[in-house]
């Protein structure tokens, strides 16, 4: 579903992404790990078509993101680190609007069912977003992806700032989506959550993909060790 080939992005001659090659198939959850400035967000922004690449290509559902920007957006959903919705609208109204933007006309029953599926508590459906926690907003974001019937999910640090329970619920939601065949690319700092939910893990540094694993082939401790050594960090003995 996602195919990235030799993707490079330079800002004023400064390399942000260097010859990235990556593939995420149907039903896979690919977690990109890396320190700040490693190129994770740049990768996601390139896939969203928010920025132009310097060279290389990126395909979503076999469509070139940079040539068919509008068409590729039909297949993908995006949840940023801080999903911001319209505070004066209710959860249902936000879902209705963002689905409408994506060209979906949904009945109230359908909207409710998507919010339920995303795990939002029912008494919050008609509440305005202004009182929602970050975890609740992320669930509305998942509902937006479900309503859109997105085949590709791009997530940028979605669990940062979430409490363990919310983070766990979020991981469960991703798992459910993966079961439905959704290909997910998630940028994160959270090694534990990456190990928990991912099918594939990549470690990025200085715009390059330095390591790539199948998640089940590595332990959490092994992942941590590899990550730290890739980053040239010293492991602290506890």
């Amino acid at each position: 579903m996602i195919t990235i080939q030799n993707l490079t992005k330079k800002y004023n001659g400064q390399i942000a992404l260097d010859q990235l090659n990556l593939k995420v198939n149907k039903g896979e959850i690919y977690c990109l790990l890396g320190a700040n400035g490693a190129g994770k967000t740049t990768t996601i922004n390139l896939l969203l078509g928010f920025i132009e690449p310097t060279s290389g290509s990126a395909l979503i559902n076999n469509l070139n993101v940079f040539e068919k920007a509008k068409e590729t957006k039909k297949f993908l959903a995006y949840i940023p680190e801080n999903l911001m919705l319209y505070p004066s609208l209710t959860a249902i109204e936000n879902l209705d609007y963002f689905s409408g933007i994506a060209g979906k006309r949904l009945s109230k029953e359908s909207l409710i069912s998507f919010l339920k599926e995303a795990g939002l508590q029912e008494n919050a459906f008609e509440n305005r977003i202004t009182a929602f926690s970050k975890g609740m907003r992320q669930k509305v974001g998942i509902a937006i992806a479900l309503a859109k019937d997105a085949r590709v999910l791009l997530l940028d640090e979605p669990t940062s700032g979430l409490d363990p329970k919310a983070s766990n619920e979020f991981g469960q939601l991703l798992h459910n989506l993966s079961q439905k065949g959704v290909a997910t690319l998630m940028a994160t700092h959270d090694l534990f959550r990456a190990k928990e939910v991912a099918t594939h893990i990549g470690i990025m540094k200085d715009g390059q993909l330095k390591e790539e694993f199948i998640a089940s082939d590595i332990s959490l401790h092994g992942l941590e060790k590899t990550y730290l050594s890739t980053m040239n960090y010293k492991e602290v003995e506890l």
Binding site: L48, S88, G103
Partner: protein, 467 residues
């Protein structure tokens, strides 16, 4: 998508307490301004009716009198208040309401409402045109300054972009949501004004088509502002900056440019002072026939010509009273002088208007204001028209009186008195303001400039590439 954006934006607007309160205040102010204007309209028209009737009664009941004494006694031409002045009072307050019509002299309109007011009047009045011209654009700014910037500031823009939003449909949705409350307020104001006017007594020349044109002019004015404010919001990164730029546009458009236009026009094409004007008129008058002076060179020449024309050697042998004839000729000469000097003023006014029209390229306020006043019959054009009509009536009245004096008395018979019923034969002064089609054709340039503004502002919207 357009519909969804429209409903989303409308919900956001109406759920914002500040917006609700502002809209309620504006609606109340509009209601109050219409009520005040309707009261003024009724009061002034009642006064007009009373003054017109009583002045005619006074004229008709002069009894037996020398016609030239009656000419000096004079009468008044009263300017009615036109129905659409309820919406736009224009220059009515400053232009004067009546003109004293007497022999030998063209007087200016007097008794303006402004002269009856205290210094507090400098703060301006709460009138519908004030609300329509100044407050509504401010409301548009209040509702629309953050229309696009808020998406960036709230962080919703990235999600919208990822959903594959179509920028054009998005802009259209926002445009409709911003324009709708303005349209509702404007429509309500014009509907109420129309209903009040159609139910008022003595509603004169009110017709719905004039009101509809006025409504269309103001609607166009608001569309231009909506387009400009959305463009500013789309092209600025922060709501604060957008608000400052939008308010600057309002200040420039509604306050600074009209004032600058006025100063430039006055500087380039000044009116003579009152003293200069009077001195110029007097100078020209002296160079011609004075109806009261039989010994002047001009009067002697007239006498010789008339005697020769009638083949007689004495004024006593003429079939009419030469004194009255001479006075009529004097009137004609003086009227010519007045027309010459007033035409100069009108010419200056026309040149000043051209400056205003030129400046209208920088401000949609100017063509809107001129169109609105013209349709309401409260502009200087209508005032000039009324003034000319009153002058023509004065000239006709003087001829009516002098002819009677000339035909019914002999030369030297200053004791002649017209019959007490004679005065009733003078037709009453009637004035019909320019019709709507005349006004529209006279204001074609204003209409064109407003249309250019409309097209230009829509063209700016096309440049929004916020996505």
């Amino acid at each position: 998508m357009t519909r969804k954006t429209f409903f989303k934006e409308s919900k956001e607007l109406f759920r914002d307490g500040r917006v609700r309160i502002t809209m309620i205040i504006v609606a109340l102010l509009m209601g109050v301004s219409i009520w005040i204007s309707a009261r003024q309209y009724q009061n002034i028209n009642e006064q007009y009716k009373v003054a017109k009737t009583s002045e005619r009664v006074i004229w008709d009941s002069q009894g037996e009198k020398n016609p030239h004494s009656a000419a000096h006694y004079g009468t008044y031409a009263f300017k009615p208040k036109y129905p659409l002045s309820l919406v736009d009072q224009g220059v009515d307050k400053y232009a004067g309401t009546s003109i004293f019509l007497e022999a030998h002299k063209r007087n200016e309109a007097q008794f303006s409402a402004a002269s009856d007011q205290t210094g507090l009047a400098r703060f301006g009045d709460l009138t519908p045109d004030f609300m329509l011209l100044f407050m509504m654009p401010l409301i548009i700014i209040l509702l629309g300054y953050n229309s696009f910037t808020k998406e960036n500031e709230m962080g919703t823009l990235t999600l919208l972009k990822s959903q594959g939003i179509s920028s054009w449909k998005w802009v259209l949705g926002k445009w409709a949501a911003l324009f709708l409350p303005i349209l509702i307020l404007t429509t309500a104001l014009f509907m109420v004004a129309g209903l009040i006017l159609s139910n008022l007594k003595d509603f004169g020349v009110f017709d719905w088509s004039s009101l509809l044109w006025m409504y269309l002019i103001y609607t166009t004015y608001y569309i231009i502002f909506v387009n400009l404010i959305l463009f500013i919001s789309a092209k600025t990164k922060k709501s604060g900056i957008s608000l400052v730029v939008s308010l600057s546009l309002w200040i420039l458009s509604c306050l600074a440019i009209p004032k600058a236009a006025s100063n430039i026009a006055e500087e380039r094409y000044p009116y003579p002072t009152r003293q200069e004007f009077a001195a110029n008129v007097l100078k020209d008058k002296k160079q011609g026939l004075d109806g009261h002076n039989p010994w002047s060179k001009e009067a002697k020449l007239l006498k010789e010509n008339v005697l020769a024309e009638h083949g007689v050697d004495s004024l006593h042998k003429l079939p009419f009273n030469f004194d009255a004839y001479r006075m009529q000729k004097g009137e004609e000469h003086e009227a010519e002088i007045y027309f010459k000097h007033y035409n100069y003023l009108k010419d200056q006014f026309a040149k000043q208007s051209k400056v205003y029209k030129g400046m209208a390229v920088f401000s949609p306020y100017l063509p809107t204001r001129f169109m609105s006043m013209a349709i309401a019959h409260t502009d200087y054009g209508t005032h000039w028209d009324f003034s000319d009509a009153a002058e023509n009536y004065r000239i006709a009245t003087q001829k009516f009186l002098n002819d009677d004096f000339a035909e019914n008395s002999a030369y030297g018979n200053w004791g002649y008195r017209a019959d007490a019923n004679f005065w009733k034969q003078l037709p009453a002064f009637k004035y019909s303001p320019p019709k709507l089609d005349t006004i529209l054709s006279q204001n074609f340039s204003n209409l064109s400039i407003l249309s250019y503004w409309l097209i230009g502002s829509f063209a700016l919207l096309l440049f929004i590439k916020k996505m």
